[in-house]
Symmetry: C2
Subunit: 338 residues, 2 copies
């Protein structure tokens, strides 16, 4: 009873359900989604405990990288990362897990388990949010094993994921810091989709064509490039980052961590997107990959049945920011300020 | 640049610093706090990566419970769990990590690594928040290895922790569901401190005496009972839960999970607290422990130099809610509503 400060007085919305009932339904939904990882059953393996205790107990698979685990967290805030007038709570839940899984994809890792913290106003449809979380969990094979629910005037959904490295004995994670001068740079697909989708959703009248639908999907249901990240790691890539802050900003992060410069000679813009959106859009989860063995990367993507990686430039010895066709790119990109 | 919806327009506060600068300072602070776990150095061990990449890479210690890991998450919301008029941002950070570590304490586990998601308004002093997080990390030996920062109209701090079980070969975690009829019940200390502290902070004029100071500390700087939880687990306890929702509510959770009833015959109220605060206060992190070997528990606490556990009752065969001195206790406790 120490939580009397929020509630109807702040939101004017009537609570439909209480915390423990909502958790029971989330639990059932998340267990069902575990068929993405445990096809023979959706209950925890013997000795494991998912939702329902103080903490989850999980079995960590033995991998070739014995003893190494990966931890990632990310969050989605209403009015900042998602506009509830332009997407559903189902989309918010989906995105909230995908953004964190994308961080593991950028390391070449696989997500094993995740937890979710949901803070939202009275009247928030927790079941709809849970449906999106469960969809992302099932698609990525990441089991949602725990979480917490709280009232809050603003909807904030934070996920944390635990991942491991599969395959490639002794091969570590794909860091931001491994790129070397001369490495070729690739992206896993054309850029700017999420920003273009948001622009269309805010405009008057949206065309009904496949390109438009793809842009809306890029904004509402971005997909983490898990297979691409692992394939890059296993084919000798030297560095990777997910393009969550925009190509220019994230190129800068990779360049800074690796102590290289980045010379871009191509900017793949998504159909229906703009150059600006491709450079600075962010909130999309294509990967930027550096490799000293470009043919091997392209061959591995082909062998895995993936869309070919798009070559966009090269790492150079100068440290600092990126250039495109020799012109400096202003940093840009979104920075939260405090 | 897809995050244009929040910021000064909403808060009227001026951003002092940007996200990446704030992260750099948090990183330094969290690395320094790692001396709680790595006394010889505050940099990641070789091959590990903490803050600074898409995800953290950590080494999972081999324990007697090979392959088992624990995951927990919890969150603190401004105006719901903490009142910023009554505590500092340092306190909020401290509490935000402790609440999650407390979930691991209730399993008899040790926290190894944690991540933190911070969503807060412009003007939020991220450094002060980080100081509290770092203090809790150092005290508990839990290394903060990653996180995310975002703007948000409401301050929400969510932490996720990864833990392991030490000692007791083959001995699993302390679940809520293991209590059996006849088991004795203990709490790790008198109850109601956090609620009493909040009441005092909201009242006019606060006395300056040690009992009052202890209550204020219970509200502002609650401490997870890590050693108590592990000691209980290693001395044959059958079940445990942390009292985050209040004694009556959390007794009900343990009773429900274990299929027992709970007959309390004693209510240890903290000095300066009320019966109501001890029954329903919550937001405090004493543990409720069930054991079929009470003498062994008491002896183990003594051997570990801990405050003696306080006997409060017994598990009975009836399933359902708790009674105190034979009188039913109304469920009470805080439930978030949606």
């Amino acid at each position: 009873v120490q939580s009397p400060n929020s509630g109807d007085a702040q939101t004017g919305r009537v609570g439909q359900t209480d915390e423990f009932e909502a958790i029971d339904r989330l639990r059932a939904r998340f267990e069902a989604a575990a068929r993405g990882r445990f096809p023979d059953g959706t209950r925890p393996p013997a000795g494991d405990t998912w939702i329902g205790d103080d903490a989850a107990v999980v079995t960590v698979e033995a991998t070739e990288q014995a003893g190494k685990a990966l931890l990632a967290t990310d969050l989605v805030v209403e009015g900042v990362h998602v506009d509830l007038a332009l997407c559903t709570l189902d989309d918010v839940g989906y995105k909230a897990l995908m953004v964190t899984v994308s961080d593991l994809a950028a390391m070449g890792a696989r997500p094993e388990y995740a937890t979710v913290s949901i803070a939202g106003p009275m009247g928030t449809d927790i079941d709809q949010l849970g449906a999106g979380l469960a969809a992302a969990a099932e698609e990525t094979g990441c089991v949602l094993v725990g979480g917490d629910l709280s009232q809050s005037p603003t909807l904030v959904v934070s996920t944390a994921a635990f991942g491991v490295l599969h395959g490639g004995p002794g091969l570590g994670p794909l860091l931001r810091s491994g790129a070397r001068p001369g490495d070729r740079l690739f992206v896993t697909g054309p850029l700017g989709g999420s920003a273009a989708g948001l622009r269309l959703l805010r405009s008057e009248g949206i065309a009904e064509d496949p390109a438009t639908a793809a842009l809306l999907r890029a904004y509402r249901r971005p997909v983490a490039r898990l297979v691409e990240g692992e394939t890059a790691r296993l084919s000798g890539a030297t560095a990777a980052i997910d393009i969550s802050d925009g190509l220019v900003a994230d190129s800068g992060h990779l360049a800074g961590a690796s102590g290289v410069g980045i010379a871009l000679d191509r900017l793949p813009v998504v159909e229906g997107g703009t150059r600006e959106e491709a450079l600075h859009g962010g909130e999309e989860y294509e990967l930027l990959i550096a490799t000293g063995e470009p043919d091997r990367l392209v061959g591995a993507f082909e062998a895995a049945g993936l869309r070919p990686p798009v070559p966009i430039g090269v790492c150079v010895t100068h440290t600092g920011l990126a250039t495109l066709d020799g012109q400096p790119l202003s940093p840009g990109g979104w920075r939260h300020r405090f």
